[in-house]
């Protein structure tokens, strides 16, 4: 499998932070095509900032970015805005943590799902709608036609997150950034979303960077995991290996933080 994303010595510093404190402090990792990498760490460890820098959502006015992010061999650090815009929603898409606030409250779900097509393709309205209905079905939403015409406040959190996933996959991206996509959902829905992501990964050969503070969830989905602490990558490897034999004290603590019943189940 060929390498999709290669990050080398990525360093992100926010202007309003203390000089010695980097949000992301020289991390390197890579993701192959169709690969799933879990990125774990506590709040403030730099996971989300890393993901945002990968999809160009980091406000470059507020932060310095250095190092290298190669996506399909092309450099994303300090690239042109046009290049970023051409990737966003096309090659790279994102699923965020809070499905309710991540949706435009006054726009129909269907129009939000097909938005990436509106931006990146010249498909007609009818073609876009057909693709959106297909994507909603792929995200295992019952009655896609009905969901298409609903507004976000009319759906439950789990259904909304499925719709967000439908919106993210509609353009068949090579890389999906999933930023704590299950954190705001209850446990049974969490498991369904994980299953759905796994299915989409296998069917579409879509690589996933799965960000979570929950190692238990990561273990269900990912083959490889990288552990972040205070902006640094402290451990990386096969997820089962790390569970069996954590090298770092911090990783041990993260594993210890999983409720025992869940640990037994997994």
């Amino acid at each position: 499998m060929s390498e999709l994303l290669k990050i080398t010595d990525l360093l992100i510093h926010f202007h309003n932070a203390a000089p010695e404190r980097n949000a992301v402090d020289g991390i390197s990792f890579s993701i192959d095509e169709g690969d799933i990498l879990g990125l774990v760490g506590e709040s403030g460890s730099g996971k989300t900032v890393t993901a945002m820098s990968l999809c160009g959502l980091l406000d470059v006015k507020q932060a310095d970015l250095s190092g290298s992010i190669l996506f399909q061999g092309k450099e994303l650090v300090n690239c042109s805005e046009e290049f970023l815009l051409s990737l966003q929603g096309d090659e790279i898409s994102v699923v965020f943590q809070e499905p309710m606030s991540s949706m435009n409250p006054v726009m129909k779900i269907g129009l939000q799902v097909e938005e990436a097509l509106r931006v990146h393709t010249k498909l007609s309205k009818e073609e876009r709608k057909a693709r959106a209905l297909q994507a909603l079905a792929d995200a295992e939403l019952p009655n896609p036609e009905e969901v298409y015409n609903k507004y976000p406040h009319e759906l439950s959190g789990g259904m909304l997150q499925r719709a967000m996933i439908a919106a993210a996959i509609i353009n068949r991206p090579m890389l999906l950034l999933a930023d704590e996509p299950t954190t705001a959902l209850d446990v049974t829905i969490q498991a369904q979303i994980i299953k759905l992501l796994k299915k989409l990964n296998q069917e579409n050969n879509m690589a996933i960077l799965f960000i979570s503070h929950n190692l238990h969830v990561v273990r269900q989905l990912c083959e490889r995991v990288a552990v972040m602490q205070r902006g640094k990558l402290v451990e990386e490897g096969d997820v089962n290996e790390i569970f069996r034999n954590p090298q770092q004290e911090y990783t041990k603590n993260l594993i210890a933080a999983i409720p025992t019943r869940e640990k037994r189940l997994s």
Binding site: G89, N104, V106
Partner: protein, 313 residues
Amino acid sequence: MKYVIKKVIALIITLLVVSFLAFLAFQIIPGDPTTRILGSEATPEMVAALREQMGLNRPMLLRYLDWLGNFVRGNYGTSFTYKVSVNSLLADKLPVTILLTALSFIITGVVAIPLGILAGSVKSKIIDKIVIIIDQIVMSVPAFFIGMIVCFLFGILFRLFVPGQFVPLETDWRACIAYLVFPAVSIAIPRIAMTVKMLRSSILNQLGQDYVRTARSRGNNRRQYLFKHVIRNAMIPVITFLAISLAEIMTGTIIIEQVFTIPGIGRLLISSIGTRDFPVVQAIVVLIAAWIVIVNFAADIINQVVDPRMRNR
């Protein structure tokens, strides 16, 4: 349907309360319509006779119910001063005030909405600061003062119109509108400043919302996410504000009509309060109250169209 019935009941209750309060106010404030009619030389006997004739000696509640009964039947009574029916007085003055209000509101909307969007989406910090400062200054100047400045600048210096020489609608509607544009602008200017400030902060607030980040993650450029996502959300509070503005512009005309000597409802109201011409005042007060309730009702409906979360309540 249930919603409409609820609103109509609210309208009726509001009008009852407002008209009663206006009625009450006339009992409390000193002054008597009879002295205006008879003059200061009148003997107490003459006053008493006229009061009896006008029915002013009957209990207040009875008189209110009388008035209400007539009002419901569409008979607003007869003016004490002009000796003509209030209906015909209003029919005469109302079109001018409505025209002035409409002109002023249109100017406010047409100028403020694009300016507000511009102020909310401009990225330059310096321009933003300048806009805020100008906005703050303009906002705090009352409309009647702006009216005086407009009279001076455009009336006396540039001679674009003759202050005080109002052209009635029937004589020449074009000249009438051309005259009304100046008072309309005077009322609109502080309103524009307020609306711009409101829309600007609403847009800035919306720009920080999560859904904007989502829209950006789909490759929308700044113009696209502003116009496809942000502005519609940002307009929701502004619509309510514009509705309140529409109500306040109507009441604002009362003062501006004095400044520009326009024979509208406002001038009629002020002169009628002076002469204790109670039927006229009562009719105008109820009219303004009804206007405010109806405008708010309209704002509710528009908000429901724009914001699906407001529907089915």
